[in-house]
Symmetry: C2
Subunit: 197 residues, 2 copies
């Protein structure tokens, strides 16, 4: 399956986003005139559609573990870390022309340590976050972390296993495009695209 990525700025969405998704949110996935909206619906849809590439284990208990971790990063990490750092540093600047609130930023950076510790703990016990194989849990976690890494805010040095895991993720061909990502007006941290960081 080949897809074309169309980037949009979340703080400047075109009106047709609302036509495709009444929630007015990204991501939206279009294929053969079919619209699938939201990361939950999209990731499960692709899993059900494509029998060749599996990002979910076969066993239903292991699937539950992967989904627990997807929710961890999409909800808990998002709320405790991502929103406090990325919203403050990126969205607020481009959407409202405001500087980040240093108190909120500090909370986000502090919370990030607990999440890195948890990744570290998991990777001490497993090859990948959700088990022995790469799953959607790794993709979700790496996607959220990569933007914070772009901003230079991930203290990798204190978390050896987490760093090894992220280095494995970065080396994957599918990660190449993410490492080329660019936020207009914000330069990536020096090590962002380095496979050795």
């Amino acid at each position: 399956m080949l897809f074309v990525l169309k980037d949009e700025e979340p703080w400047n969405l075109p009106a047709d986003v609302f036509k495709l998704n009444p929630a007015g949110e990204l991501p939206i996935f279009l294929s053969d005139g079919n619209v699938v909206a939201g990361n939950y619906a999209i990731s499960e849809y692709l899993e059900e559609l494509n029998q060749e590439i599996r990002l979910m284990p076969e066993d239903i208990k292991q699937r539950a573990e992967v989904r627990r971790l997807i929710a961890w990063f999409d909800e808990k990490f998002y709320r405790e870390v991502y929103r406090n750092i990325v919203y403050e540093k990126v969205h607020k600047r481009f959407a409202k022309g405001l500087a980040p609130d240093s108190k909120i930023l500090k909370i986000g950076l502090n919370n990030l340590n607990f999440h890195l510790e948890y990744i570290d703990w998991l990777i001490e016990r497993r090859n990948y976050l959700g088990g022995e194989e790469l799953t959607m849990a790794d993709i979700t976690a790496a996607a959220h972390l990569s933007i914070i890494d772009y901003l230079g805010d991930v203290p990798w040095e204190g978390y050896r296993n987490a760093k090894i895991w992220y280095s494995k993720m970065k080396s994957r061909p599918s990660f190449k495009d993410i490492l080329k990502d660019n936020i207009k007006g914000i330069l990536p941290a020096k090590h962002y695209a380095d496979l050795d960081f």
Copy 2:
């Protein structure tokens, strides 16, 4: 399958919740020594485990539509309505002994109208939110709405189709226990348990 519900107060969780779910959050589902944590993992797990009761359509495009709506209520409705009303009126009171912030409450009540309008619009076109059959989308929406209805804050009168849909949901045997729910210290709205409201 028969399960026993063990209630916990979200603002007063016992320590063993953290042992079962490192996120320290509810819901947690226990079966045969297996722990499944979080509503996403639990609902998909039950769907995969139990072939008798289906709360997801067969068709993968329809499944995507149901999942879009689950995310709508768990994320968008939660953020725009539930948190502003239920957190202010219930959690804040029991967790912190504080009165609701009337400004936040007003935002939540105002947002609720848009969501009821959307439910109304969907039910004009479909039997249930996610299609012609009852699905997990209905359960999710009704669960979020029922607590706001308990507080007496749902303006059903302006939304005829939404009211018909919710009345159908209330009449289901599985909803009976929810209608017996009680928040200690807060009386339910008069019509809360009425099937004709």
